[in-house]
């Protein structure tokens, strides 16, 4: 054993000087710590990836081929450019909304309590988890995009990455809302029905299955109150390659603002209810 290693054994309480004790750096480090840990657990149980996947894949394979004639699209590429973004929005929206279950489960098993007696940042405990859930969803989103390519989807890489960024914001927002609702009602049995009641109309009113351009006026005017409607339009525009389209920045701004607000809302509830 070298002299330095011995010294480290003798003075174990001394902390490495590279670890920030407070401030934004500590917060980023703590969030990263939680993010990595949650990712590790996802990788350990890959079945979790597959479960979230089954529904979008079957829609992609069994429903999307109908769309060319149903939408009156001239090519499969055009049909997929309309449909795939919608599918990804559903994936992120539902996947995000269901993250509250994981939080309730972890609160129950004591994993979070074990973290709370340490000096780790409280918001990092929540945000690290949300980001890991969103990362998992984005892996699924990438796979779905790749599967759609042989069916005729064409999309250029720049707009695609921007579309992913928009999806990440949607995921963070949905996950935060789910955490907040989970913390308010505290019951997994009640969380399921609430998510279903909220997410179905939200998804339909975003035009994820068929674009709301086909909708009657009254339906469209309701949809305009749904933030995911704007985000879905933005995502579609990006898949078509229209980076400059108004819907892109409209969707991005609406989602960025709402995601930030929802993260703060959930973090506040978390810090209060789970001190």
């Amino acid at each position: 054993m070298t002299a330095t290693a011995e010294l480290a054994d003798i003075v174990p309480a001394r902390r490495s000087s590279t670890i920030p004790r407070q401030g934004p750096l500590k917060f980023i480090r703590d969030t990263w710590l939680v993010f990595q840990r949650q990712n590790l657990l996802v990788v350990r149980t890959p079945i979790r990836l597959v479960i979230g996947f089954a529904q979008p894949i079957s829609y992609l394979l069994l429903f999307a081929p109908l769309l060319k004639s149903a939408l009156g699209a001239s090519t499969y590429a055009e049909a997929y450019r309309i449909y795939v973004p919608g599918l990804l929005v559903i994936l992120v929206l539902l996947g995000g909304f269901f993250t509250g279950f994981g939080l309730l489960y972890e609160l129950q098993t004591g994993v979070i309590e074990r973290s709370r007696v340490t000096s780790i940042s409280r918001i990092a405990l929540l945000l690290g988890r949300a980001l890991s859930e969103v990362a998992t969803l984005m892996v699924q989103a990438v796979i779905i995009t790749l599967i759609a390519i042989p069916f005729g989807l064409t999309v250029s890489i720049g707009p695609l990455l921007l579309a992913y960024a928009l999806l990440i914001l949607m995921g963070i927002m949905a996950a935060s809302v789910s955490y907040a609702v989970a913390l308010l009602i505290k019951s997994p049995a009640a969380l399921g029905p609430i998510i279903n009641v909220v997410s179905q109309p939200l998804a339909l009113l975003s035009g994820v299955l068929l674009p709301l351009a086909l909708a009657p006026h009254w339906l469209l005017s309701i949809a305009k109150w749904n933030p995911f409607y704007w985000a879905t339009n933005g995502t579609r525009a990006l898949f078509t390659g229209n980076i400059g389209d108004n819907s892109v920045w409209e969707g991005a701004i609406i989602m960025a603002v709402l995601a930030t607000l929802c993260v703060f809302w959930a973090a506040r509830l978390f810090a209060r209810r789970v001190r």
């Binding site: 670890i19 350990r44 309590e113 074990r114 007696v117």
Partner: protein, 317 residues
């Protein structure tokens, strides 16, 4: 090492008309010394867990003060977290992580750097004899192994005080004895260990001092021996084969009996000054009735008796 003064917590439950308040903890004063194993006993709902959660910073007290290892609980909870460890009743290990991963993560959550965290994990695995299965997933561990990991997690940041919530619940006798050894080892290293338990034999065998909480207040505090001595005299158990009510009626009000407890429907527990003198009097009192004697026994008071006297309930209820 731990000193509390008038620690209080009130819960508000329900809303609107049904709103009610529950005074879970109504002014707890405790003093726990250095390198001491301190037992905290109480029936369910007595305020045991609430007190523990306040001391571990998981719950904010409504009133009172506490100083833990020199850190003020109200003013500096962050420092209390650094100086104390906590192991919840259910532990908190994740099925799909390994003991080593859990230990490294826990150390890093306390702000320890990655390399140092790994060194500490290795040392802890060694100290708690977990090395053989350190890289297997926690779901494969036995109850006793998992509990040892929990405790190793609680002390990974080398705290001065360790809070253990019901550390041996659900363990077989062998694992239990093993846990006791681990707790004693931590004490010998200078750590103060604060334990809540339901098992009075555990409190008796393991704890240097203990306190009993009932209805949110401390009703007794001292060494196990002191507490037993406090209820002076002997305990006579009378087995009357189911005729307990009749026997109780015949014995109630006799001057030589300080206290009479009906224990299930099987027998009676009589607290008397001198058992040897009491037994003939008991026999005489029951003689002539048609009560069938199953047996009569003489015991020194146990912690069970202390508990029964102080709270009016048996801990097993």
């Amino acid at each position: 090492m731990i000193e509390t003064k008038g620690l209080r917590k009130t819960f508000h439950i329900g809303k609107g008309r049904k709103a009610a308040t529950v005074d879970a903890v109504r002014g707890v004063d405790l003093k726990v010394g250095d390198a001491e194993i301190f037992g905290f006993l109480g029936p369910n709902g007595a305020g045991k867990t609430t007190t523990l959660r306040m001391l571990t910073t998981l719950l904010e007290p409504d009133g009172g003060d506490a100083v833990i290892a020199g850190a003020d609980l109200r003013r500096d909870p962050a420092r209390v977290r650094q100086l104390s460890g906590y192991v919840a009743q259910g532990g908190g290990t994740v099925d799909d992580a390994t003991a080593r991963e859990e230990l490294v993560l826990q150390a890093r959550m306390y702000g320890i750097g990655k390399d140092e965290a790994e060194r500490r994990a290795t040392r802890a695995l060694d100290a708690f004899q977990l090395t053989d299965f350190a890289d297997r997933r926690c779901r494969t561990y036995s109850g006793g192994q998992r509990r040892r990991v929990d405790i190793a997690l609680g002390v990974i940041h080398e705290p001065k005080v360790l809070f253990l919530d019901e550390p041996t619940v659900g363990l077989d006798p062998q694992s239990r004895a093993r846990m006791w050894d681990e707790v004693r080892r931590l004490r010998s290293e200078g750590m103060t260990v604060f334990i809540t338990t339901h098992y009075l034999d555990e409190a008796d065998a393991l704890c240097d001092r203990l306190a009993i909480i009932d209805n949110g207040e401390i009703v007794a505090e001292g060494t196990p021996d002191d507490l037993k001595r406090e209820i002076a005299g002997d305990v006579v158990t009378v087995d009357v084969n189911g005729s307990t009510p009749q026997a109780a009626e015949l014995l109630t009000g006799r001057a030589f009996i300080r206290k009479l407890e009906v224990e299930t429907d099987k027998g009676l527990r009589l607290y008397v000054d001198d058992g040897a003198l009491a037994i003939p009097q008991i026999m005489r009192a029951l003689d002539g009735s048609d009560i069938e004697f199953g047996g009569i026994g003489l015991n020194r008071p146990s912690l069970d008796d202390v508990f029964l006297t102080k709270t009016g309930r048996s801990l097993r209820d």
